[in-house]
């Protein structure tokens, strides 16, 4: 049966083109790969090659014709033994409608937050009466890794100075001694490369913990965190999950200036496919890091250098984890909700303490995980207090606080008695000078001022 040669689409956006020149004539024999014609698209003149073998039986569109629609028959190809007389019973062209899938995606069904009443999970993180022990955040993170490495042979740590130096911030102290060089791997200073190797190793059956000396240096590796780790499960139709933890200190430390002082919470929290954690207390650091290592998905685990040396009560339990997506109401209150995470919690808690002295009862929520984010706990609280202040050290534009505010507007508008106020870092690169650095960060005083604003005091 004669085959119609159709006007081809030669770019992702081409709908029609000019048939500039025929390079074959009726009666010519062509084989696959021969150039048949030159076609002008909106961008360039392209050569159009034959796919099938045969003889050009008839040219249907003359050269020089403009605005030839894609999929219009432009010539007829005859196979061995066919003649021009057979033209007319050509193969049917593909239905053009099929080529332009333009159906509007259905409204989100599963992932959108339910518009219904919030159902916060207020169960305790550990059984009442559990023995507690003082521990620094550093010790808690170290213990979490050691426990998980003991439990699972495929868990290993890699990064700069994690082994022989015992960790730039001593988070991996003694791991080399216990687990050996195979499982505690010193890397060269090459974030882009070792982040990619970590992702490949995760696909290959291991559970890597990739330590970045600080998250600032991970900007060299962000392509692998997002394009390789976060997106591949989706792009593979669910075949290639990536059980990896990227961790290290994030945000401002002290007097290290702009390149070493950035909070990446909002950046990573934006990415579907990632889970994002930013703990404040030692108990959360331990329980959440253990969850992160066990999670079959890529986890961005944002620590804080200033918090490393702080001590908190940590439950004495053989195996203790904190689930993702569960915020913690650290302090109950009635008059205002203060939402924070990571080091922002210290301002939130100090402010709540001072407010209590002035007779203002603040409820303080530690989000703990930023993706998934526990909307319900925040909304339930705001439905009670009718006022909300958010606190974080990151920049103000497109901050976590902005997102919380928008969500409250959508889901709890009628319960708000005042616009939500976001306390954030200032919209500047971090200065070095001590006085300016202090000014660039948020503060307890700013939180107090924000609470005054939302409570109209």
């Amino acid at each position: 049966m004669p085959t119609e040669i159709l006007m081809p689409a030669l770019s992702p956006t081409m709908e029609e083109g000019t048939l500039a020149k025929w390079l074959v004539k009726e009666g010519d024999t062509v084989s696959s790969g021969d150039i048949l014609a030159e076609i002008e698209t909106d961008k360039a003149t392209m050569e159009f090659e034959a796919v099938d073998e045969g003889t050009i039986g008839k040219i249907l569109v003359d050269e020089g014709t403009e605005n030839v629609k894609v999929n219009t028959a432009i010539a007829v190809l005859l196979e061995d033994g066919e003649s021009a007389d057979d033209i007319g019973e050509t193969s049917a062209p593909a239905p053009a409608a099929e080529a332009a899938p333009a159906s509007v995606p259905a409204a989100p069904v599963a992932a959108a937050p339910a518009p219904d009443a919030p159902a916060p999970d207020s169960s305790p993180d550990w059984p009442e009466g559990t023995e507690m022990k003082k521990m620094t955040v550093r010790e808690a993170l170290n213990a979490a890794m050691a426990e998980e490495m003991r439990a699972d042979e495929t868990v290993f740590v890699m990064g700069e100075e994690v082994a022989e130096y015992q960790g730039a911030y001593k988070i991996t102290q003694n791991l080399l001694e216990e687990f050996g060089a195979k499982r505690v791997i010193d890397t060269p200073i090459t974030e882009h490369g070792f982040a990619g190797i970590g992702v490949g190793a995760a696909w290959g059956g291991l559970k890597p913990i990739v330590e970045f000396m600080t998250w600032n240096f991970a900007m060299q590796a962000i392509d692998h965190i997002i394009n390789s780790a976060a997106k591949t499960n989706y792009m593979s139709g669910g075949q290639l999950g990536c059980p990896i933890v990227f961790r290290g200190p994030n945000g401002a430390a002290a007097r290290v200036a702009a390149q070493h002082s950035q909070d990446y919470a909002a950046w990573y929290a934006q990415v579907p496919g990632l889970k994002v954690v930013q703990p404040y207390s030692a108990a959360d650091a331990k329980g959440l890091l253990k969850s992160a290592i066990r999670d079959p998905n890529p986890v961005v685990f944002l620590e804080n250098e200033i918090l490393y040396g702080r001590s908190f009560d940590v439950p004495v339990l053989d195996d203790f984890t904190i689930p993702f997506g569960k915020a913690r109401v650290v302090r109950s209150g009635e008059d205002v909700t203060i939402v924070s995470f990571g080091i922002g919690m210290q301002y939130a808690l100090e402010a709540a303490e001072k407010l209590a002295e002035d007779g203002v009862s603040a409820e303080v929520i530690d989000l703990r995980t930023l993706r998934p984010l526990d909307y319900d706990t925040v909304i339930a609280s705001v439905m009670k207090t009718n006022r909300c202040v958010t606190v974080e050290e990151g920049w103000p534009v497109a901050s976590i606080g902005n997102h919380i505010s928008a969500t409250l507007m959508e889901r709890a508008f009628d319960y708000l008695d005042a616009p939500v106020v976001n306390c954030t870092g200032k919209d500047v690169p971090m200065p070095y000078a001590a006085n300016l650095e202090k000014l660039a960060l948020t503060s307890t005083a700013e939180v107090l001022e924000a609470v005054k604003q939302v409570t109209y005091r």
Binding site: P8, A44, P108, T187, I197, G200, L206, G238
Partner: protein, 331 residues
């Protein structure tokens, strides 16, 4: 027209030679069909064809064992067919349908198969190189003697992460064969205009990685060099670099008018060096196969490819709920 040079003496059996012919022909016909479906608007976006380079992946795959891994760039259809992935599933992914390897959510550049140890299909130039070394690290850690084939182009060979990876792969003796598919053009920029060294494999020397250049238009040369590289990696000696000098006949992607090279240049390679014609000549001149035998293979391939095209057209678009699946693995 200059005579096609078949300098390589056949060091394989007639059956093997026929298999190599068949495998290369499958890729070529599949790609031609993909080009056609693109022209009909059934395949969208970017579509990078492998036509001309078939001997590279077919020659290397001839050296693989079960469990060996492979990872490549966005010019990936040939690699998938060569490692035994189903042409139906590959073509249906190109058309963005439910029956595709990624349920239509990855497209031409992002396909994977756990079963066949094919780890993509990556769209960021150079990114698959450390990923491949990571797969090799996992095998080394788990104590098996599997090898990872990490394919990338002459263009990717100028990315910094490639050299970060060379350093770590050599430092840790990772079992990875780096295959540089040098088709001489990084999109529209010739190697001469982009790359300081004429032989890219020599860059491995700076890291202590052995390597060699291979005629990528001759499948037997590729197979032989691959055997040496694989033996090196499998025995625990660390990485190896093969720079396979090849040529792509089509544009960088379907929408590339390829004005950076002459039609004569392309035609000359096709006529004098074509990897498939090369084997065809060997089969016929060595009397390993008759014209009829080859016709039968052609027919078999044509049927496989047209079946894949039919499947790719008939398979439905993914259900709308698929928008929200596979973002996370259930914890």
């Amino acid at each position: 027209m200059a005579a096609r040079k078949s300098t390589k003496k056949s060091n394989v059996s007639a059956d093997e030679l026929k298999q190599l012919y068949r495998d290369m022909l499958l890729i070529r016909r599949f790609e031609e069909k993909a080009g056609q479906l693109y022209g009909m608007g059934l395949i969208g976006g970017f579509c990078h064809l492998y036509i001309g380079q078939e001997a590279v992946v077919v020659g290397l795959e001839a050296n693989t064992e079960e469990g060996d891994k492979r990872i490549t760039t966005y010019r990936d259809h040939g690699h998938m067919l060569a490692c035994g992935m189903d042409p139906d599933g590959v073509m249906a992914e190109l058309t963005g349908r439910e029956g595709g390897y990624s349920k239509g959510k990855g497209g031409s550049m992002h396909m994977f198969s756990r079963d066949k140890h094919f780890y993509g299909g990556h769209g960021i130039v150079g990114a698959n190189v450390p990923l491949g070394a990571g797969l090799a690290l996992a095998d080394q850690y788990l104590g098996n003697d599997r090898v990872t084939f990490t394919y990338f182009g002459d263009g990717a060979a100028n990315q910094g992460q490639v050299y970060e990876t060379f350093n770590m792969a050599a430092l840790w003796s990772l079992p990875v064969v780096f295959v540089i598919e040098n088709n001489q053009y990084a999109m529209g920029t010739s190697q001469k205009r982009s790359t300081s060294t004429p032989d890219i494999y020599t860059r491995g020397a700076a890291f202590g990685i052995p390597g060699e250049a291979v005629d990528g238009m001759n499948v037997l040369s590729v197979k032989e060099a691959g055997a040496k590289a694989v033996a090196h990696c499998r025995s625990g000696k660390g990485p190896y670099i093969l720079e396979v000098k090849t040529y792509r006949y089509r544009g960088h992607s379907m929408s590339d008018p390829a004005k950076y090279r002459t039609r004569e240049e392309v035609q000359k390679v096709r006529e004098e060096k074509d990897c498939i014609e090369n084997v065809r000549d060997m089969l016929l001149s060595g009397k390993h196969a008759s014209e009829d035998d080859l016709k039968a293979i052609d027919k078999e391939i044509k049927d496989i490819v047209s079946k894949s095209a039919d499947f790719a057209k008939e398979s439905p678009e993914p259900a709308l709920e698929e928008l929200w699946t596979d973002i996370y693995v259930d914890a």
